[in-house]
Point group: C2
Chain length 224, copies 2
Amino acid sequence: MEVLMRSLKMGINDELYIKDPESSDLGKKIVEQSILLLDEVGFEQFTFKKLGTRIKSNESSIYRYFENKNKLLLYLASWHWAWMECRMVFETNGIPDPKEKLKRAIEILTQNVEYDSTVSHINESVLNKVIIDEYSKSLLVREVSKEKRDGYCIIYMRLVERLCKMIIAVDKGYPYPNSLASTVLEGTLYQYFLKAHFPALTDCDGDITPTDYFTDLVFRAIKK
Amino acid sequence: MEVLMRSLKMGINDELYIKDPESSDLGKKIVEQSILLLDEVGFEQFTFKKLGTRIKSNESSIYRYFENKNKLLLYLASWHWAWMECRMVFETNGIPDPKEKLKRAIEILTQNVEYDSTVSHINESVLNKVIIDEYSKSLLVREVSKEKRDGYCIIYMRLVERLCKMIIAVDKGYPYPNSLASTVLEGTLYQYFLKAHFPALTDCDGDITPTDYFTDLVFRAIKK
DNA sequence: ATATATTGATAGTAAAACTATTATTTTTGC
DNA sequence: GCAAAAATAATAGTTTTACTATCAATATAT
């Protein structure tokens, strides 16, 4: 798997960047360090100036890669969802039983992402934390046309669709497969968010995981 | 109900404002028009300067009511959740059967809020739209201590707790009542959000409502 | 070795997010 | 009805952010 991943170039919408950050050392450093800086200071306090200082490069150089910090966050989110999709497809491939397949998919999608040095310059575990706290801020709802927005989020949309199809494969009569799939993905981020910031509002703690909760929920929902 | 509501002063954390906006005409106008402006331009483009122009008042006057636009949004969110709590308690009060009670609560909490002139200066229907698009941006996670954050969100937390208790009243053995309750509240906003901006990711449309989806989901989850 | 692309350094602009000061208006107590 | 107090308006100023523009320095490619 590691070998496969390393050589895999994520198909991220090229309108999210000006110059492909994968194409140079500076670009990779921008991506690498933006994740760490976002984790440290949050999206609101994050600026290209601070990032420039941190990577000992210039603010204006960063602007040559990304239009603004919103696009950068969307780029990172795309990367994250591409990574999740990749892992999900890989790990469920070849499971013949639809129930087992769905179970494994939910497991992958709701698990806390562990550090994995597969893609050297991206710390996927820290990126996961960033997505939990900031993902909702990346959805540029006003600034952008519907078509562009869909383009920016295409990987996420595809992931919901995949999960939706797995749900249908287990119970083709279930009337809300899209909603259930999107609830699992968004709800997972939300439960981790609550665990970190409002623990009284979730049962997920050291013992119970979002995986436990959502696996139970989905199978109770679709089991006739 | 209307009479009760009109006289009801929502118990909103007084650290969310500098001067109580309910205490003056200007204050009410700030709240009234901020909802409409937020709906029109979104949180990012919203400024106190624009709001000042709109209400033919001065930027600096608005700063005497609210520290900044984040606090204003949190104030509005508190108002919204207080209103939901109020309606939920009122509408479920006196229902003896726990199942019926829970069903009615979910109905209230997941329904689209209709315009209601009960509180003259607040258009709760537009506020509901604003909350759907912007609520997640109101959770000041970095800027503020855990205690303050809890204080700001106390009404929302209480609402989750109430719903949680209603779930337990139907099935005291269900292992994830807090998570299910928070999923219903957050998930409802999310399903409406998707309906408006990414309709392919939800089954909720003109026909199917979030109420249908979540009523079904909750009762499948807790029915043994 | 030279043309080309990339990056760095510096400077500058426009707007946002406030703060401070003073003037004017409105409210309230008496 | 009037003086004192409170609230609001007008104006101006500060700092920070989010960029853009220009040009110099450096790396790379042929």
